[in-house]
């Protein structure tokens, strides 16, 4: 084929035609990219203008729906939704009430409820995310109904996330825990976020104690993964459950062989100023638990100087280093011990102590 072409008297005509075609294609491609860029920019400007218009209507109008053009295109729905979600995230009171009313007045909730049944999974997921951002209690039953028929795992996780922002009472937490246990464990961060949302929703409605009841219920429930129990404790840590100290101590005592739970409990308790388990955790056979305790040792356990001093020779590098840092934060006696270790024969302990002393000096 190549031979026929090269020997053809029209060879150079073919080459010229091919180069011209390539040139035309390149020009067309550049034109298309420029057109697309302009289209995206126009759409972004329109979206920002609509967002601004929606926010202004919420501030100035008694009935904002009267001022705003009804959304038709997807980008118009998206712009209104962003403005409304932003208002609901940041403000409460009259303006939030108007924002909630706007959702139904402009048919935004109906639109996204329809999209939540779309055949493309990411469109369904996006619709669920937007509906979640509105935190409308009326969406609870809808979320549950969609969850039952939803085939995509990714969307189901998003529905649970949306439901976690609506938790108000004990039954909601149980229902969420049931839905969550029916799906494969996703990540620690996801589960923690779910429980964090639940705690903050409950706190907002003055029923924080309900979460304590739930945690007590699952403590010895073998059907609930220990990972999930750990994530509950971590969520308590993040949300600062001041009233859950007793329960966290119970978790610490009930799971001596579960370092992940012990670490979370030590951290969560220390966060609310409870160091009752820290001293014991310093002696735990698992180095990760000892490490978690060492991070707070300077706040509670400096009377355990010999034990902490001995941890400078710990087999774990992280423990040695943090023991040195804990001593550096302690009183004069601790720093004397640290200086002795820095000049001592154990190279590992000496290096950790020297590092802590330089950090302290800095």
């Amino acid at each position: 084929m190549l031979e026929i072409l090269t020997q053809s008297p029209h060879f150079y005509d073919y080459v010229t035609a091919a180069v011209l075609l390539l040139g035309v294609f390149n020009v067309a491609e550049v034109l298309f990219l420029l057109w697309n860029k302009a289209r995206v920019e126009r759409s972004e400007v329109k979206r920002q203008n609509l967002k601004r218009l929606a926010s202004t209507a919420l501030i100035t109008a008694t009935d904002p729906a009267e001022l705003l053009p009804r959304p038709i295109k997807e980008e118009e729905f998206a712009a209104y939704s962003e403005a409304i979600a932003s208002v609901l995230d940041s403000f409460e009171g009259e303006i939030a009430v108007k924002a909630v009313k706007l959702i139904s007045d402009l048919g935004i909730d109906d639109h996204y409820r329809r999209l939540a049944r779309h055949r493309v999974w990411y469109k369904r997921g996006n619709a669920i995310d937007i509906l979640s951002s509105f935190r409308l209690k009326s969406n609870r039953e809808f979320f549950l109904a969609v969850f039952r028929s939803e085939p995509a795992l990714d969307v189901r996780y998003r529905i649970i996330y949306g439901l976690s922002r609506l938790a108000r009472e004990h039954a909601d937490i149980r229902a969420l825990a049931r839905l969550l246990s029916g799906l494969p464990y996703l990540t620690a961060k996801y589960t923690e976020d779910i429980f964090y949302n639940i705690i903050t929703s409950l706190k907002a409605s003055g029923s924080e104690a309900e979460f304590g009841i739930f945690m007590r219920e699952i403590m010895h429930d073998k059907t609930v993964l220990n990972l999930v129990k750990r994530d509950c404790i971590t969520a308590c840590y993040a949300a600062g459950c001041e009233r859950g100290r007793g329960l966290l101590r119970e978790y610490y005592a009930a799971f001596p062989g579960e370092p992940e739970i012990l670490i979370s409990a030590v951290k969560a308790l220390a966060r609310v100023g409870d160091f009752s388990v820290t001293a014991e955790a310093l002696k735990n056979p698992d180095w990760r638990v000892r490490l978690a305790a060492l991070k707070h040792a300077h706040l509670c356990c400096m009377d355990m100087l010999p034990e902490i001093r001995a941890m400078l020779n710990d087999p774990s590098y992280h423990v040695r280093l943090n023991a040195a840092l804990a001593l550096a934060k302690g009183d004069n006696k601790c720093r004397v011990a640290l200086r002795e270790a820095a000049a001592g024969p154990d190279a590992f302990a000496a290096s950790a102590a020297a590092y802590a002393l330089t950090q302290e000096a800095a």
Binding site: S55, L58, I59, T60, S86, D89, S90, F91, G93, E94
Partner: protein, 123 residues
């Protein structure tokens, strides 16, 4: 009448805060990220600064730290307004020397009253 600088990346927050605060006769200056906020704080010398935490380029904590380190801006009172409700963040904010830590969602009328009361107390 006071000069108030709003540093937040969300335009909706700017619109709403500006609308409510200008109604009370305050002069509003706005910045959409930390570096812009730092420049405007020095130039505008506001009587109060409303500061978000989660922003692009620089967090509100870093902005507050830099403002307090700069002799030209260290006396500007800061109200942090954020959705971060964790105790550690609240303590971190107060540790940096801010005046108020307001968690979202906030009632905009109450926010206005708190600002008014604070500005009155500084007179």
């Amino acid at each position: 009448m006071a000069k108030i600088l709003i540093i937040d990346d969300d335009e909706t927050i700017h619109l709403i805060c500006r609308a409510y605060l200008t109604k009370s006769g305050h002069i509003i200056e706005e910045a959409y990220d930390g570096p812009e906020g730092l420049v405007k704080a020095e130039a505008f010398q506001p009587d109060l600064l409303l500061l978000d935490i989660n922003m692009p380029r620089m967090s509100g904590f870093d902005v507050a730290k830099k403002l307090k380190e700069n002799p030209a801006t260290k006396n500007i009172p800061i109200f942090m307004m954020t959705s971060l409700k964790q105790e550690a963040n609240i303590q971190r904010g107060y540790g940096l020397g801010i005046e108020e830590y307001i968690t979202k969602p906030a009632n905009v009328e109450h926010l206005k009253l708190r600002i008014e009361k604070f500005l009155q107390s500084r007179k």
